[in-house]
């Protein structure tokens, strides 16, 4: 699959078939996430893959932003202690950025494998961390719900790029683009 096509075609998938995802494919997704860039190469990320239906259900109950019946959830966590030790006050923001980079890799890799995915930030981090037995300094930052898509992918709506893209310097309202 062409990378640019994958970027344009990928959509958040919130409705899934019940068919399980092969373990090898889940491992490939985690590997794609792991190989994302890392600020200062600190690598404070951890990945918890959950496929046991009871635990997936429990995560869903604590995640108002999770829809449909995903068959797997990958929990992207950051080791805040490690990040803060290496990057002091920037540690928090570095870890969030690292996790975001990992998530995008994961979403594109899932799309390439025909797996639907949706990142979820609307969840209770402390409750999910406790459910998974994460140590206190390891914080679940983002969830990725996974499953083979059910029905059509969404439309993908974005504001016009002309309004948001600037060349050389910030374009003033009313001035021409070039």
């Amino acid at each position: 699959m062409d990378l640019f096509e994958a970027i344009m075609e990928r959509r958040s998938v919130r409705s899934y078939q019940g068919r399980p995802i092969p373990v090898g494919d889940l491992e490939r997704l985690v590997k794609a996430a792991h190989w994302a860039p890392s600020a200062g190469n600190i690598n404070p990320r951890h990945f918890v893959t959950v496929t046991e239906p009871k635990i997936v259900e429990a995560i869903k109950a604590l995640s108002p932003g999770m829809f449909g019946g995903p068959v797997a959830v990958i929990v992207l966590c950051s080791d805040r202690a490690k990040a803060e030790k290496r990057a002091s006050s920037n540690g928090y923001i570095y870890s969030i950025m690292d996790v975001s980079m990992s998530a995008q890799n994961l979403l594109l890799a899932a799309h390439a494998l025909g797996i639907g995915a949706c990142v979820v930030r609307s969840f209770h981090a402390k409750a999910v961390g406790s459910l998974l037995g994460c140590p206190e300094h390891v914080v679940p930052e983002l969830l990725v719900a996974l499953g083979y898509p059910q029905g059509n992918l969404g439309q993908g709506i974005r504001p016009p790029l002309e309004d948001l893209s600037h060349n050389e310097r910030w374009r003033q309202e009313g001035s021409s683009h070039e």
Partner: protein, 94 residues
């Protein structure tokens, strides 16, 4: 559905509602109405599995599932859908 199953389903819905309440403190204001209609849809699911089969509720859930994601792309259309949902439910009140 056994009473243990019902309790389990209700527990999950309560977790969802409590987490929503907590998270809405810092989320976009429009997520409030979104969570409430989503909770309504989940409640209709439970009622249906409990054997409470009602045409209006099923219709309401179908409308919610069709329109709830408008909140992300078209807030005016989302508010219009909320009006339609209330009118649909109100019609069978008495």
């Amino acid at each position: 559905m056994s009473s243990a199953d019902l309790r389990g389903e209700a527990h999950k819905l309560l977790c969802y509602m409590a987490t929503s309440a907590r998270n809405l403190v810092g989320e976009p204001p429009m997520y409030g109405p979104f969570r409430l209609v989503d909770a309504s849809s989940r409640l209709i699911d439970i009622l249906e599995r409990q054997g409470v089969d009602d045409g209006t509720l099923t219709e309401a859930r179908a409308l919610i599932e069709e329109k709830k994601y408008l909140v992300m792309n078209d807030e005016d259309a989302f508010v219009e859908f909320l009006d339609d949902l209330v009118m649909l439910l109100a019609r069978s009140l008495v």
